[in-house]
């Protein structure tokens, strides 16, 4: 008997603090699997952001620092500049990255900072209990857009990959999803490529992962997955937006 699937080494034994059916757990596992496969656990530094994943330094078995809300890309820049041999990644939600940290993510990308950003987009503020996020869809009801997001009042959702794609800087931008096994495999490939680019010093890589938030969407885990497919993916198309230079070797 050969082990086909097991808990990656880059995850601690800590139980995830996420809600049932939340995709953070899947994404954490993919990042950890990639860290294992690239054999970089001793040099990896996780820069945690503020949101549901704020305590992910309890789950990733790597060095880690917890950055102020929105500032993870800046903190990661500091780590990478001071310790260039480290593999530095930030793990941020849409409130952290696309609201509080918009300047930080744009400038880190424009500098083509050699860090990897795992950006989880669930179109809502999870930790604080379901408020509207910059990625909340038009018409989507949240605790702070109770009548549904109205462009005239609350403006329009931000497509981060497309936004960053207008910059010369970034080396790699891809949007993926984890709503079924096929897409989980695709997402892992993207995360792996992002980390590989950093290992090769190619610069800024960001993988935007569409993610379900059953609790705050008030949907079951399964219904949330349908919502990802029907609604989220309609506004946030999956695909590779930027890919500077090929990554040699198996993807």
């Amino acid at each position: 008997m050969e082990v086909v699937f097991q808990r990656p080494q880059a995850l601690t034994e800590e139980k995830f603090s996420y809600c049932p059916g939340c995709h953070h757990g899947i994404i954490h596992r993919l990042v950890a699997e990639v860290i294992d496969e690239l054999g970089i656990i001793d040099n990896t530094v996780c820069v945690s952001s503020v949101g549901c994943s704020v305590v992910n330094y309890q789950f990733f078995a790597t060095d880690a620092i917890q950055a102020a809300h929105g500032r993870a890309p800046a903190a990661a820049t500091g780590v990478k500049r001071a310790s260039p041999d480290s593999i530095v990644f930030t793990y941020q939600g849409d409130g952290d990255l696309a609201a509080m940290g918009t300047a930080e993510i744009i400038h880190a990308a424009a500098r083509n900072e050699n860090i990897t950003v795992v950006f989880v987009n669930n179109a809502i503020y999870g930790m604080t209990g379901g408020q509207m996020a910059p990625t909340t869809l038009k018409g989507q009801k949240t605790t702070t857009s109770p009548y549904g997001r109205d462009s005239k009042r609350e403006g329009n959702p931000i497509r981060v990959c497309e936004l960053l794609n207008s910059l010369d800087g970034p080396a790699y931008l891809e949007r993926v999803s984890v709503h079924d096994p096929k897409h989980v495999i695709r997402a892992k490939k993207a995360i792996k490529k992002a980390f590989q680019l950093q290992v090769k010093g190619r610069g800024f890589s960001l993988v935007e992962v569409l993610s379900a938030c059953p609790t705050n969407w008030h949907l079951s885990p399964l219904a949330s997955i349908e919502w990802v497919q029907k609604e989220l993916m309609a506004y946030y198309p999956l695909g590779v937006f930027r890919e500077a230079g090929e990554v040699d070797g198996e993807c």
Binding site: A74, G78, S83
Partner: protein, 350 residues
């Protein structure tokens, strides 16, 4: 050498190789200097998109154990307050330079000392302290960079140099030899490439209130230790002074001249100059005013340090205040007249 640039050279001498900053008058010469000099010594200079980003870059670099510097001026330091609170909460050493200018708001670009409260009472959230050093000359500015890094490393806490536009812009001879001796502490707590050590995590998040209280108590004990061991002050003619002028930074030099003028007219005055603004040199001040009958605090603000003087002396003797603000500096003559006024009051002649 110009004050701002002396800070850069002193940082290099102190083993600092990382600077994250943002342009703002009157300190921009420092980032400009390091942008030129750092590449020559293998340093990393990065201009961030904002002071908020800069202090968080400092936070990241500090976590790797590197000696890291940032500088700004008053409004920029306001933007850094959250990051400084995080650095204190995560116990990450770094050095922040504030070349103060007139405030509040956009204020002006002329020198001032109106950020005293922000620096010493904590401009950010939570129970934390920053070690605050106030040099009065370009040489002391350079020396304080070494001292600041040593204290920050020793106590794993942010340290701040509180200068002002004069100090930053003026030129005076400076010697960096003294700084080289400062020892660099080996940091086992650093993140980065680990060889066989346990993983390190730096966070200021303690969701469990009991844990957070324990953390606060631990920090408070650290601050008590600093207060007991690290206060610094300088005195001039205070041994027999009946009037002691308390002033820091460049203002203390103006007061020295005023005191000499008063002395020439038989008024026994002296100057007490706190060098550490936090921890405030309370023991030293109480000793200095033991024989005095009046105290005059002089600042380039509407009166901030004067409150700490009053707190320290606990009403034992009257504490007057004289200040100029908005970028105006007190003149020797004006300070002298304040001293004279107090002296007359003490004699009950008025």
């Amino acid at each position: 050498m110009k004050g701002n640039e002396a800070i850069g050279e002193a940082a290099i001498a102190a083993g600092c190789r990382y600077f994250f900053g943002y342009p703002i008058t009157p300190q921009s010469e420092l980032p400009e200097y390091l942008a030129r000099r750092f590449p020559e010594v293998g340093g990393v200079y990065l201009q961030a998109e904002s002071e908020v980003a800069a202090i968080n870059m400092v936070y990241g670099a500090a976590a790797t154990g590197a000696r890291v510097l940032t500088s700004s001026s008053s409004p920029g330091i306001s933007l850094k307050q959250e990051g400084i609170s995080y650095a204190a909460g995560s116990e990450l050493p770094c050095l922040i330079v504030n070349i103060m200018r007139g405030g509040p708001g956009l204020g002006g670009i002329q020198p001032a000392q109106s950020d005293y409260f922000q620096a010493t009472k904590g401009g950010g959230h939570g129970d934390y302290k920053v070690i605050v050093l106030a040099p009065a000359s370009v040489q002391e500015l350079a020396d304080m960079v070494g001292t600041g890094f040593d204290l920050a490393d020793k106590y794993r806490n942010p340290a701040m140099i509180l200068g002002d536009g004069f100090l930053g812009q003026m030129m005076e001879p400076v010697d960096f030899a003294g700084i080289k001796k400062s020892k660099i502490v080996e940091k086992t707590w650093a993140v980065g490439c680990k060889k066989g050590r346990e993983r390190n995590v730096h966070t200021s998040l303690y969701l469990d209130p009991e844990e957070l209280e324990k953390h606060n108590i631990k920090l408070a004990q650290k601050y008590e230790l600093i207060a007991e061991n690290e206060t610094m002050a300088q005195e001039y003619l205070t041994e027999d002074a009946e009037i002691v002028v308390v002033a820091y930074g460049l203002v203390a030099r103006i007061c020295k001249a005023a005191v000499e003028k008063a002395r020439s007219e038989g008024i026994r005055a002296g100057v007490f100059r706190p060098i550490t603004l936090w921890p405030f040199p309370q023991k030293e001040l109480r000793k200095a005013v033991a024989a005095a009958r009046g105290v005059l605090a002089v600042e380039m603000s509407m009166g901030q340090m004067v409150e700490d003087v009053r707190l320290c002396l606990e009403g034992r003797l009257p504490v007057r205040f004289y200040g100029r603000a908005g970028g105006m500096a007190p003149t020797t003559q004006a300070v002298y007249e304040e001293i004279k006024k107090i002296s007359l009051e003490c004699k009950g002649v008025e």
